[in-house]
């Protein structure tokens, strides 16, 4: 059992592929927040991706090939922080079996920040937001209260979603195999917090799905939790 974030002085940051390529600002915000906790942040430069896209599509050997980049890049001696619920779940719950390796000490970003009592500014004062729980973060890592608690500490008021249990419709390759159902699921999610400044999610997969659909229909802005906490909804929108 790891003693937890309070005892940590250095962490390794895993940007995730979507974080690195599509949402680099969210990763930068995550790094800022980690630094504010007083921990030194390492960025292993050999990192690529955890292999989840292939793993969830049933392509184990492709997943293994990409997953090995993770095993090569990250040290087992330092905790790993991931600004993505589903990638954190992949690393914690799937990677050891897939690669036949020992488990990693891995934290989803908001769980780490919450436990480390990250200092936060009132960047979302008097702002109403919706929080979309990533399915893997909610059901596999059982993290739900931490991100909401952090948002509230920045002054945000969290408006409960109509059906917080429902998936946003991303699901990796599901989003392109069943595009019509996937988009309909995104629409329901985007419509489920009317009148809020933004929907916040801690998963780049959900973020890509929801923001891509929102951009097309002119819907609610969708923001990564790290950005919402570090710079606030208004800066992000």
């Amino acid at each position: 059992m790891h003693p937890g974030p309070r005892a940590v002085s250095r962490v390794q940051l895993f940007a995730t592929c979507l974080g690195d390529l599509v949402f680099p600002q969210a990763v930068a915000d995550a790094a800022t927040l980690l630094a504010a906790c007083g921990v030194e942040v390492e960025f292993p430069s050999a990192q690529v991706c955890c292999g989840q896209p292939a793993f969830n599509a049933g392509h184990r050997s492709a997943a293994r090939r990409v997953g090995r980049t993770f095993a090569r890049a990250f040290s087992r001696n330092l905790p790993i922080v991931v600004p993505s619920g589903s990638c954190a779940a992949m690393i914690a719950l799937r990677l050891p079996e897939l690669l036949g390796c020992e488990p990693y000490t891995v934290f989803e970003l908001s769980a780490f920040l919450d436990d480390a009592s990250v200092p936060l500014e009132q960047v979302n004062e008097a702002t109403e937001v919706g929080y979309h729980a990533s399915c893997h973060m909610l059901r596999e890592l059982h993290i739900d209260a931490a991100p909401k608690r952090l948002l509230e500490r920045t002054g945000a008021t969290i408006v409960p979603l109509r059906r917080p249990d429902l998936c946003c419709g991303f699901g990796g390759t599901f989003s392109v195999r069943q595009p019509e159902v996937s988009v309909a699921m995104a629409d329901d999610k985007l419509a489920s917090a009317p009148g809020t400044a933004a929907l916040v999610t801690a998963d780049p997969g959900c973020l890509m799905q929801l923001s891509s659909r929102s951009a097309r229909i002119g819907g609610t802005p969708v923001v990564h939790l790290a950005t919402a906490l570090a710079r606030g909804m208004r800066a992000a929108a």
Partner: protein, 457 residues
């Protein structure tokens, strides 16, 4: 004839149709949300729902692990009480047996209760082919039969139907225009079905559980039609999936705490019927003959393997009610019989995965199904396993396999990963015109690759 074989394009085509019907979307949304909320309430009412689920899982796993013995016990016990038990390997065998029973009794009219096992073997079509009139007596199933359709929810077959839809089909039988008013429609249906109960020569039901120690069959129903169908006709034929056996009455009592609660949020269904053999000499009620038709129809494929846990399913429908994909796509997208997460797992297993290759992918793997399952079947994990089989058995398309191979080679080290990112940035607009990129961008913006990745910031 009903078939579990699903063409690859079916899911997407049927889902599109359902997505296009605003009224149907609303019916599914309100129907599933209602059942979901009621289940949570009913679960909360148990002293320790987790312990009960664990106990139920243990009972199901133990039973499936020793299924031959329990089936033999069940057959022997029921045989001793005068019932006829027959084991059918295939749907065809089961259909033929039941049609033969009907023909032997010169049956003109068969009354049925709702049964997914009879849907699975395509019994109604077989009876009609033999020129035997068959009528469904569960209200939802009756509406579906009149509409010439298949059930789209294993518990609420007519979940997509509105009062107007019901009025339209009932009016046709009635010969007068009925207003879409629930009480009036119910009266009309009751009137129409009464004749069926009184004149049916054979009653056909499913079986929720078969109790091995007593040879009893347990039926869980709500409308009272189950009792009429099993007591008025001369002959009762019960169709049971081979996995539906439980060892003892005590085991049954555990499962009965979960089945009605998980299905409709009821502590107990309106009728819970235990039938042990046909009418005996000194009894005044019940059928003269009872046939229990046990079907395999592919279930043996699951035994002893990675998917054995799916045989634990008690057909409560809880996973349908929480599934965000079912909620949008509707039950018809999956198959004519089973739908939602349990259907997406079971249909490919019964039919062989190459005959239903789109179903393992008809899920976003959100895991809500697994969370809702009263007997704790890891449904989304089983979907993941089936996806793996699609790849390992060479059923996934060559294009898909090549795509993942190339992707994994490109992303097998950071240097080629960076190169691929540069290419992706440059060719994003082009990607919108082909395959996955086109499917993504038809109704969504393509994700814009940042001009500098995080490592380049």
């Amino acid at each position: 004839m009903t078939s579990l074989v699903q063409p690859p394009a079916r899911f997407r085509e049927r889902a599109r149709i359902t997505l296009g019907h605003k009224g149907v979307q609303e019916m599914i949304d309100s129907g599933t949300a209602h059942l979901f909320a009621r289940r949570l309430e009913a679960w909360a009412d148990l002293p320790d729902v987790e312990a009960t689920r664990e106990r139920a899982r243990e009972i199901r796993t133990r039973t499936i692990g020793d299924l031959d013995r329990y089936l033999a016990d069940f057959g022997a016990a029921l045989g001793a009480r005068g019932g006829n038990v027959v084991f059918c390997r295939s749907a065809e065998e089961a259909r033929r047996y039941i049609v033969d029973v009907c023909v032997a009794h010169d049956a003109k009219l068969v009354a049925k209760t709702k049964s997914m096992a009879t849907e699975e073997i395509g019994l109604n079509e077989a009876l009609v082919d033999a020129e035997i009139n068959v009528v469904e007596t569960d209200l939802g199933e009756y509406l579906i039969q009149l509409a010439g359709e298949h059930p789209t929810h294993i518990i609420g077959p007519a979940i997509e139907k509105t009062e107007e839809d019901a009025a339209a089909v009932l009016s046709q039988v009635e010969g007068v225009e009925l207003p879409p008013e629930p009480q009036g429609l119910l009266r009309a249906a009751r009137r129409q079905l009464r004749d069926v109960f009184l004149h049916a020569d054979v009653g056909v039901t499913g079986v929720n559980f078969g109790v091995a120690e007593t040879g009893s069959i347990c039926l869980v129903t709500n409308e009272g039609n189950g009792r009429l169908v099993t007591s008025l006709p001369r002959v009762h034929v019960a169709v049971m999936g081979m996995e539906r056996v439980v060892p003892t009455l005590e085991d049954l009592s555990v499962l009965l705490q979960l089945l009605p609660r998980s299905a409709g949020g009821q502590k107990l269904s309106v009728y819970t019927t235990l039938l042990t053999g046909p009418r005996r000499k000194n009894e005044s009620d019940g059928p003269e003959e009872l046939h229990v038709v046990i079907i395999d129809n592919g279930r043996s494929n699951l035994r002893g393997g990675r998917y054995e846990e799916m045989l634990n399913c008690i057909r409560c429908g809880a996973c349908l009610n929480v599934c965000p994909v079912y909620r949008k796509a509707g039950g018809g997208a999956y198959s004519d019989v089973y739908s939602g997460p349990m259907g997406a797992v079971l249909v490919p297993l019964l039919a062989k995965v190459e005959h239903a290759p789109s179903l393992p992918h008809a899920s976003s793997l959100c895991g809500a199904c697994t969370e809702s399952c009263p007997v704790k079947i890891p449904l989304h994990e089983l979907l993941l396993e089936l996806r793996r089989d699609l790849v390992d058995e060479g059923i996934a398309s060559r294009r898909e396999r090549l795509g993942f191979l190339l992707w994994s080679l490109a992303w097998s080290n950071a240097r080629t990963y960076r190169l691929s990112a540069r290419l992706a940035r440059r060719f994003t607009p082009l990607a919108a015109r082909f395959g996955p990129g086109r499917n993504w961008s038809k109704e969504r913006e393509l994700p814009r690759f940042a001009s500098r990745s995080y490592r380049e910031l």
